[in-house]
């Protein structure tokens, strides 16, 4: 079965970790994840500048590793990201900001990518809140 997963919460929220463990369990059962869409505060889960306390799990890094390992399509909503200061090098230059903090493998793109994923997938699963 094809899953699209939308994440609305930042890496420090329990729901971000829950989404990650759900995604891992889905792949372990042989399902396909057509796209991960990071929306609203979920864009913080893709920031390369998140530093977790040493005695806590680093969910942002775990997301990045997960996307790279499984070569998934990790899309970050561009409008949500820009307003929250999550920029790739191209956007940092475009808006004359001093730094970029969206490393590979993340891609900035529009809400249309979520719509497209929902059309392709059999299930859309959203994670957010606490």
């Amino acid at each position: 079965m094809k899953f699209a997963i939308a994440l609305h919460s930042p890496a420090h929220a329990p729901s971000s970790r829950r989404a990650l463990l759900f995604a891992k369990a889905a792949l372990a059962q042989g399902h396909e994840i057509v796209r991960l869409f990071f929306y609203q505060d979920g864009v913080h889960s893709a920031s390369g500048n998140v530093v977790s306390p040493q005695d806590e799990s680093d969910t942002a890094v775990q997301w990045r590793d997960f996307v790279i390992t499984h070569q998934l399509d990790g899309v970050v909503c561009i409008a949500a990201a820009l307003r929250r200061g999550v920029l790739n090098a191209e956007e940092a230059e475009r808006y004359s900001r001093p730094a970029a903090n969206l490393p590979a493998p993340w891609e900035l793109s529009g809400l249309g990518q979520l719509h497209d994923a929902v059309q392709t997938a059999d299930r859309l699963i959203c994670f957010g809140g606490p």
Partner: protein
């Protein structure tokens, strides 16, 4: 169309659970995770409300979240792990998260 309703907010801080119960279809189920698992805490108004629906209401809870909150599962709620969560999302036609 059978829907799995996913809740993660505590039922003691907002009205998501009661709203969900109002719109719940006869084939639908509720999946509690995070602070929403407090709904199963014994001797609370929410647990009494849910237990009164036993037999008509299909109720699941993420095991690790109930365990982390020291909530003993009543016999009318079924604990599942992440593999079970995925299986439920396949079993139901839609998954609606009360964000």
């Amino acid at each position: 169309m059978a829907t799995l309703h996913v809740l993660s907010h505590s039922p003691f801080t907002d009205s998501r659970l009661s709203s969900c119960l109002r719109v719940l279809g006869s084939d639908d189920a509720i999946f509690l995770c995070g602070d929403a698992s407090y709904a199963l805490r014994a001797d609370t108004a929410t647990a009494q409300l849910l237990s009164a629906k036993t037999g008509r209401l299909k109720l699941f809870v993420l095991d690790e979240d109930a365990t982390a909150r020291n909530i003993a599962l009543p016999d009318w709620a079924q604990g599942v792990d992440y593999a079970g969560f995925v299986a439920l999302s396949v079993q139901y036609d839609k998954v609606n998260t009360w964000l």
